[in-house]
């Protein structure tokens, strides 16, 4: 992964209203923190942010008015409706030290087991790996075409590029296929749905089902009629 340079300027704007005005000018508010230094509020041109996000860049040299800081793209907050970036968290990193990051797994192929009624369950859509910041892969490809019913793929089976190591349990399940059974609603047995004969007492302890119609001859068992609440009858 190449390390991109992203321009930034120091940000004095704080609070909702000032940050909104900053966004209206075309900047995205951001913060740089970590490595034992004080956090620094910055603003980044919105066009630059969108361009780098589209190219899945994650490690940057943030150029804060001439001073460069190596940083990792920790969190991006998006507007839920129009998907514009609202705020970015950069975490300072040392380019010579390994870091742990989550890398998305790109599942390739269609499992053979799905034709037999299987359902693909992705237990880990991302994988936590440990590597140098410059070696963070964009994504990890995993071929699932051979996945059959009751088979599973574990983390150690994912091919990692050179210099990248797993940071989770190697036996952690990444994806598996389970048999998908359609829930068929069985028709109610005739004995349960049958209305008891007139005058016949129900079995002791057998509570009537909620909403079930009362026997025709037993008007007292019927629920209170809604007519009881009519306006005309409610004179005080």
């Amino acid at each position: 992964m190449d390390i991109s340079v992203i321009p930034a300027k120091k940000r004095a704007a704080r609070g909702r209203n000032q940050v909104r005005a900053l966004r209206a000018e075309g900047y995205v508010p951001a913060v740089i923190y970590g490595e034992g230094k004080d956090p620094e509020a910055v603003a980044i041109p919105g066009g630059e942010v969108i361009r780098h996000l589209r190219q899945h860049h994650r490690v940057f040299h943030v150029d804060v008015e001439g001073r460069k800081e190596s940083a990792y793209l920790q969190v991006v907050q998006f507007d839920p409706i129009d998907d514009t970036p609202l705020h970015i968290d950069f975490k300072r990193i040392d380019l010579t030290k390994q870091i742990e990051v989550d890398v998305a797994i790109h599942f390739v192929g269609h499992p053979v087991g799905t034709a037999k009624g299987g359902r693909l369950i992705k237990d880990h859509p991302t994988l936590r790996v440990r590597c140098l910041p410059a070696a963070i892969p964009d994504s990890l490809e995993l071929d699932i075409a051979g996945l059959d019913l009751d088979m599973r793929i574990t983390a150690k089976e994912v091919k990692l590029p050179a210099g990248v190591a797993l940071a989770i349990d190697p036996d952690a399940m990444v994806a598996h296929l389970v048999l998908h059974v359609e829930k068929v609603e069985a028709p109610a047995p005739a004995a349960e749905g049958a209305v008891p004969a007139e005058g016949a007492a129900p079995a002791a302890g057998a509570a009537p089902a909620a909403g079930a119609a009362a026997p025709a001859g037993d008007k007292k068992a019927a629920p209170a009629a809604p007519e009881a609440k009519k306006g005309g009858e409610g004179k005080k």
Binding site: F78, I81, I121, K230
Partner: protein, 136 residues
């Protein structure tokens, strides 16, 4: 149909829907989601209709229903004069803000999810769109 097992109060006032969804606005469990773009109420029977439509369009898909109808809606009987108190609870709805993810789907390719979500979208009383899981 979905409805609460018990509630603290039997009936609620109607309320207003202000702002956008600040939570439940991203795909969390599956690969794709159906996101509301408008505020509105979605009835329990509409959620059920969406679930059935999805299970028929994509039976192999895993579906997550991200909303639950917590709000009771009361209604007076037909041909009833006004007054004499609030009506009885008629049905249950979920209050949806723009940005709320209603359904999520996983285990299927994008074209299958798109087709199934289109079926669900026809049944929803609000404008919706399909979104994918974010990688950042």
């Amino acid at each position: 149909m979905m409805m609460p097992k018990r509630t603290k109060f039997r009936k609620q006032q109607r309320g207003m829907i202000r702002g956008v969804a600040t939570s439940c606005n991203q795909v969390e469990f599956g690969d794709f989601g159906l996101q509301s773009l408008e505020p509105g109420w979605i009835a329990a029977k509409t959620i059920e209709a969406g679930r059935v439509a999805c299970s028929r369009a994509a039976p192999e898909a895993k579906l997550w229903i991200r909303v639950f109808p917590h709000k009771p809606v009361s209604k007076k009987p037909a041909e009833t004069r006004m007054g004499v108190g609030k009506g009885d609870v008629d049905h249950w709805t979920v209050v949806v803000k723009p940005g709320t993810v209603l359904f999520e789907m996983g285990g299927v390719p994008e074209h299958v999810a798109k087709k199934a979500f289109a079926r669900i979208a026809h049944k929803m009383p609000v404008k919706v769109r399909m979104i994918s899981k974010r990688s950042v």
